[in-house]
Subunit: 148 residues, 2 copies
C-alpha cells in the first residue's frame, strides 16, 4: 500500500485498478473528476496567461498549486480493466503503448511542477511561457490517448 501511494505521488502511471478502486467504473469516475478539477484551474491560469482576465499573482500561484497537486492523481486510475468502463474516453493506446503514456504523464507532471514554481515567482512572462509548455504536454496526451 505504501508503495502505491508513494508511486502516485512521484508520478507512476499504470497500477492495477483493483489495488485502489473497488470497481473499474470507480476508477474511471475518479480519473475524470481529477482531470476536471485540474482542467478548471489550468484554464484559469490560461485566462490570465492569454490576457482574458487581469493577471493576479496570488491567484495564479493558487491555481498552479492546485494544478500541480492534481497532476499527480489521475494516473493511478488507468489500471487493468478500466479501458472500457464508465464514460471513459481513453483510447486503447493507453494500455497498448503504456510506456509512451507513462512518459507523457510524467512529462506533464514535470511541467506542472515547473509551472507551480514559476507561478510562485509572480512574473507574468515566465508564467505565460511555462503555461504554454505545460499546455503542450496536455495536448500531446489528448491527441494520442483520448477520443474526441
Amino acid at each position: 500500500m505504501k508503495h502505491l501511494f508513494l508511486a502516485a505521488l512521484v508520478g507512476a502511471v499504470v497500477l492495477p485498478a483493483s489495488a485502489q478502486f473497488q470497481k473499474p467504473e470507480d476508477a474511471v469516475k475518479y480519473r475524470i473528476a481529477a482531470f476536471q478539477v485540474m482542467g478548471t484551474h489550468f484554464g484559469r491560469l490560461g485566462a490570465m496567461a492569454n490576457g482574458k482576465v487581469p493577471f493576479d499573482a496570488a491567484a495564479a500561484a493558487a491555481n498552479a498549486d492546485i494544478v500541480a497537486m492534481m497532476s499527480k492523481l489521475p494516473f493511478t486510475a488507468f489500471g487493468e480493466g478500466t479501458d472500457k468502463a464508465g464514460n471513459t474516453r481513453a483510447k486503447p493506446e493507453v494500455w497498448s503503448e503504456a510506456d509512451k503514456f507513462k512518459a507523457g504523464a510524467t512529462k506533464m507532471q514535470e511541467e506542472a511542477a515547473k509551472l507551480q514554481a514559476v507561478a510562485k515567482g509572480g512574473n507574468l512572462d515566465q508564467i505565460k511561457a511555462q503555461f504554454g509548455a505545460t499546455a503542450q504536454t496536455c495536448k500531446a496526451c489528448h491527441d494520442n490517448f483520448r477520443k474526441d
Copy 2:
C-alpha cells in the same frame, strides 16, 4: 480576483458562480468532481481507520493531504444560478440557509485540516478518532443539504 482565490483557500463558501465559472453547469461539474476526488481519498482513510485494509502511515498521510486540499475547493462553486444546473443533488437549503451551509463547510474544512495534522503523526488511534470527527461533518451536510 485575488480576494476570490484567497477566500477559496481559507474556506469561504458562497461566491457568484459568474466570477469563476462560465456556465452554471461548469460549476456543478466542478464541485461534483472535487467531492468525488475528496471522497475517494477519504474513503481510503476510512478503510484503514475501520481495519478493512492494513494501516499504512505514509498512505494515510498522503490521503489526508489530498482530502485537506480538496476540502477547500468545492464551495466556491455553489454560486447563484447553480441550484438547478447539471446533475446537482444540492437542496434549495444550500442557498436559503446559506449561513448554516457555510458554517458546515467551514467545520468540515477545519476537521479535515486536523485530520491532515493527525495523519502526519502516524498514530492509528488518533487517526481513527479524527476520521470519525471529520466523517460526522460530511454526514451533517449530506443530511441537510444533499438530496438522496
